[in-house]
Amino acid sequence: MKKQYQKGWLFVTPVLLLVAFNALIPMMTVVNYSVQETFGNNLFFWEGMGWFESLLNSDRFHAALGRQFLFTGLILAIEIPLGIMIALAMPKEGFWVSICLVLMALPMLIPWNVVGAMWNIFTLPDIGLLGYLMNTTLGIEYNMTQSPFAAWVTIIIMDVWHWTSLVVLLSYAGLVAIPDAYYQAAKIDSASSWAVFRYIQLPKMKQVLTIAILLRFMDSFNIYTEVFVLTGGGPGNSTTLLSIDLVKIALGQFDLGPAAAMSLIYFAITLLVSWLFYTLMNKQDSN
């Protein structure tokens, strides 16, 4: 019985090798570093769970993790409802559809470090369009290199500007897939537009929204380039998200052991939250 499946391995092997080289082997290197101490010269000493323990007890890590969850939570809370609203407002047919879609897709086509640089210049108080407008024209003090609050507002707005489109496009795809008969039936049942949203559009968009939330969670939780280019983690450490802190430890201080331990915990958190979210959504579906 088993015999006929043996050939399957031949087909899977190339993929397995590829995954091994670009994921498993680098990952094992990280695991290797995370349990050792090195002082250079390729000399390694066994450290056991030491790095993990000290990291989990470190205030610096807690603070970065807190900032990371705050950032992800805020952008999800803004981008998902905003994306749904824009998708609902977009035309369903006609000339403007393609124009809206292209406009929506534009921000996503811009490379991440360019996004960071753009917003950096945009917000400069002396020459940036937004910075000048706020400080000089409107008289509102706005300098993200000095005020942590301004820095936070800027990174949130930047991410919303860059990635709400993804939620819009996914929601829009879910919306246009709803057959007309649903809207017609709702009309005949004299459902309010809120009821149409609550009982037709939202349930029909659930699948794509799950994907949207998952993608936005993973991407924003791992965000590095844009924020690094914009604020460099500052002022002070106020916008030092997990990834920025990780790079500081790994490349700035060259503490390979703690950095490796941190990567693994970072990875585990991303994986765990994504898995929990996805499983819960699916479980709710099958009930």
Partner: protein, 360 residues
Amino acid sequence: MAKITLSNLRHSYYPNPKVPEDYALKEIDLTWDDGGAYALLGPSGCGKTTLLNIISGLLTPSEGRILFDDADVTALPPDQRNIAQVFQFPVIYDTMTVYDNLAFPLRNRGVDEATVTRRVNEIAEMLEVDDMLKRRAAGLSPDNKQKLSMGRGLVRDDVNVVMFDEPLTVIDPHLKWKLRSKLKELHQRVRATMIYVTHDQTEAMTFADQVVVMQDGEIVQIGTPVELFDRPTHTFVGHFIGSPGMNILPCKVRGDQAFFNGQQVLLEGPTNGEGGIVEIGIRPEYVKIGVGDIEAQISKIADVGHHFVVEARVGNTKIKAIVIGEAPEQGATVTLGFRQNQTRLYRDGWIASQAAGVGA
């Protein structure tokens, strides 16, 4: 409940219709009596669904008026017309329970909860879904989902008309029959005007007291199923209804006598009109093999179980006959006879012969 009158109705999907072909509906004048069971029958694209959507208010006609009893509702939106519509694909509210689905149209209209409970239970019992009221609607089978969308229409006891737009399309064949008889039973219980749109003649004939046959945006004939079968007023109806449809044979006419392939064919009675393209219409049920004097060659035989459908050729013309019992052999030369009182004459597509004893 209401009588529905369609008056000089025309509809086009183009902004500036000019030629008749631009119209999806051409000049419809029709009255649906209160409490009747109607079927709207026709091939795909003949304007059935357009007509239905105009009655329900999902479409506004380009020209003409719709009256419910004596009130003009042409400009009213669907929710103010008090109608119900069941769509081709079951429309249910996935996240709600069966109960909430049925209660939805009532609650939206601000009906008090006690009445809601009474009506929902009544309808659920009628539709035989009362054992699943607490279940989430998303998990139902297609036929139960379709029952549920019917139920949402029937739950309001004041609906003017319930419309069905090919409601059995997604239902398994063995359940179609069940659901169809359920519909018929429902009609007898609630006595609401019902309009059933379909391209399936069996569905139309079993459901309706009156069948409206449409073609290319026009009504071709209105009649009981028996009338449509016996005396199609147009060759289209003759061909569309029946399995297989009516044989339409080219012929020549001299006086009241018709000649097919050079031989005289006795018609049911006197003819009217003159000129035009004339054709003989005879249902396969009334073509007899082995009697009469039209020579033909058997070209095809299909065994459909209870009888044979035999196709014979006279020159280039094919004639179908239904044979019960023994079928002739393929390729054999036989003679065909038409039963006289079922042999009709059509002029330019419309009936031009009268039954013997009727008229002069």
